[in-house]
């Protein structure tokens, strides 16, 4: 069975999506058990796959029995093995946590919601696992379309911001498709490894240059890299908490993975960092992204919207780290994919719990939350520490690698931006802690207002959140092992 893990990863959620869709019309109570079972199988298969990769090296799976480049193949190496585990576990933890808020917000459309949810996970897993450039486009569209559906179910402004996301997402996906077309016209192949084998004699061709730039712009649009980020804050803020806590941690990170895959596998670091003179330009763009993300976050008076701008800044970290063009920077970027997915999940789950109990996420809604929801806020502190980058949480270590990379590359601007953004995060989060710590102002009549009783979110929401918080610290403690056993092999030897 273990040689079929790559197929299981995609087939199990896909088939269960159809089962859930039908169950939504027959018996709604079946939906949740099916989705949890399917995602558990996915988590199991992804961990099994990662262990197989660690033991035996790259796993190749021929779909339809056709060897590449004729057919479509799955390539699982250390890089996507790691990302697969992250995607699968984030999806599983989030669906358990989201059950209550789904029941509260749209009880009658739970079946279609779960179907879209698991289809989105299918799409993201497929993007990560596939070794075919065109197949990636199709899966990109699945992840995007389900994302539009999930995001648009939110508040009254959600359809408009989702429509803007749809325009931007379509342009991004089409640019990627066009880039693949440019590669196809000069190489005649669609398989990533095969393209990489055929490309070196063509490195001077303008079409290859154009293919690379078009693909990059498309992927940057999808991951909301500054200045192409305009769609992200509105779309994520107005969504329901169940949807935003799936999409915010995963979509941008998977897109960063696609970018790293393009750099490392298809175009190879020699072409990207040595032949092209774009390295510094992109890192400076990343610097601007980080600074602008931090400043825009500072201007917000609304927790969820503030977090979306932090995502924009985090995307800047990863793009900058990947484009530094050295081993430490790339290690930091890959490590940050995993860490950022987990910490974004943590803080967005906290927002979900707050919305469930307080029905709002503006700063004035947050007063007195430390007393009211101590466990949720405890997890929030861990998540915030991780985003700021306080050891021993995992955020510290990826930042450390990124700064190391910046030092090695001699790019002090990027280093300064990282430190600036950490400082701004300190301000951002301590401001929220302060609001949450103090009780709401008592009204004028009675000064000894009785303190509000503890009113924690239900257990199914708190337990996954606490698990995420613990994972954040555990990943931090075992960072060295992750880097030495997984990420070290994910980066080709050529990159020093």
């Amino acid at each position: 069975m273990s040689q079929q893990y790559p197929a299981l990863l995609v087939i199990v959620p896909l088939l269960s999506a159809f089962a859930i869709s039908i169950a939504g019309w027959v018996n709604k109570r079946l939906c949740f058990p099916i989705i949890v079972t399917a995602l558990s199988v996915v988590v199991y298969a992804s961990i099994g796959l990662l262990l197989t990769v660690l033991e035996k090296g790259v796993v190749i799976y021929h779909l339809g029995g056709w060897p590449p480049p004729v057919g479509i193949a799955y390539y699982v190496d250390h890089l996507n093995g790691l990302v697969l585990v992250v995607v699968a576990s984030v999806a599983l933890l989030n669906v358990i946590a989201a059950k209550k808020s789904i029941e509260q917000e749209f009880p009658d459309k739970a079946g279609p919601f779960y179907t879209l949810y698991i289809l989105m996970v299918t799409g993201l897993l497929g993007i990560v696992v596939t070794g075919d450039a065109f197949n990636l486009y199709v899966l990109l569209e699945i992840a995007a379309l389900t994302g539009y559906g999930l995001l648009a179910m939110g508040e009254e402004r959600a359809p408009l911001s989702t429509l803007n996301y749809l325009y931007m997402g379509t342009i991004g996906a089409c640019f990627y498709l066009l880039g693949v077309g440019y590669l196809y016209i000069v190489t005649g192949s669609l398989n990533m490894v095969d393209i990489a084998r055929l490309l070196p004699p063509l490195y001077q061709s303008r079409a290859v240059l154009a293919a690379f730039i078009i693909c990059m712009v498309g992927v940057w649009l999808k991951m909301a890299f500054f200045p192409l980020h305009a769609w992200l804050p509105n779309a994520y803020t107005h969504a329901t908490s169940a949807a935003s806590s799936l999409i915010a941690p995963l979509v941008t990170k998977v897109m960063v993975y696609v970018m790293i895959r393009l750099i490392l596998t298809i175009f190879t670091p020699e072409f990207v960092f040595a032949t092209l003179a774009l390295k510094n330009v992109v890192v400076w763009l990343a610097v601007i992204a980080i600074v602008m993300g931090a400043i825009l976050a500072l201007a917000e008076r609304n927790l969820k919207r503030m977090l979306t701008f932090i995502i924009v800044a985090e995307v800047g970290y990863m793009v900058g780290g990947a484009w530094l063009g050295n081993r430490a920077g790339m290690t930091g970027a890959i490590l940050h994919i995993a860490n950022d997915a987990l910490m974004t999940l943590c803080v967005f789950l906290v927002v979900g719990n707050i919305v469930y109990k307080v029905k709002g996420y503006a700063f004035e809604n947050l007063q007195g939350l430390f007393r009211k929801m101590p466990f949720t806020m405890g997890a929030f502190v861990v998540g915030a520490m991780s985003i700021i980058g306080v050891p021993p949480t995992c955020g510290f270590f990826s930042k450390w690698y990124l700064i190391l990379g910046a030092l090695q590359a001699g790019h002090y601007g990027f280093m300064a931006a990282l430190i600036f953004s950490s400082l701004v995060s300190v301000v951002l989060f301590f401001r929220i802690f302060e609001i949450c710590y103090y009780e709401p102002f008592s009204d004028h009549h009675g000064h000894d207002h009785p303190p509000e009783p503890m009113d924690e979110a239900p257990l199914t929401m708190v337990v996954p959140l606490l698990i995420v918080a613990v994972i954040l610290i555990l990943v931090g403690l075992y960072t060295v092992d992750i880097v030495n056993h997984i990420i070290k092999f994910a980066i080709p030897e050529g990159l020093v």
Binding site: L145, T170, I171, G181
Partner: protein, 133 residues
């Protein structure tokens, strides 16, 4: 490049110039148009332009449509690759067309939701309504 070389170069890649033109028309409409449905029309033009590009890759001089001339009974006859068009771009574009219509459906559904709420499809009027609140 003088005129004598330019004109053959233009004609030899006429399809590619048209695809770029169409794509830019679509892109401009998506960025600059104010009406949400007009933007969707632009989006579709943008997508079909890319399909045109792919189909243009598949064309081969002196080749016919990618369906075996012999039909079912001719499995033993040798098939010469030069006689048939390249089927791979066609397959990819079938997928792209279907993705296009799926995106169109979702976009129109979103437009309907927006119209129900704001009673207009003009982006500036919607933004003015949001700001007023």
């Amino acid at each position: 490049m003088n005129m004598a070389e330019l004109i053959p170069a233009l004609i030899a890649k006429y399809n590619y110039w048209i695809y770029i033109t169409l794509m830019m028309i679509g892109l401009y409409a998506m960025i600059a148009k104010n009406n949400l449905v007009k933007k969707i029309v632009g989006m579709n033009i943008f997508q079909t332009a890319i399909i045109l590009y792919y189909v243009s890759i598949g064309v081969k001089k002196g080749a016919t449509i990618p369906i075996s001339a012999g039909g079912h009974g001719a499995a033993h006859e040798a098939v010469h690759a030069a006689d048939y068009l390249n089927p791979l771009p066609h397959v990819l574009m079938l997928t792209a067309i279907v993705v296009g219509v799926a995106t169109l459906g979702v976009a129109l559904a979103l437009c309907l939701r927006i119209y129900n709420r704001y009673n207009t499809l003009e982006e500036d009027e919607i933004l003015a309504q949001i700001r007023k609140k």
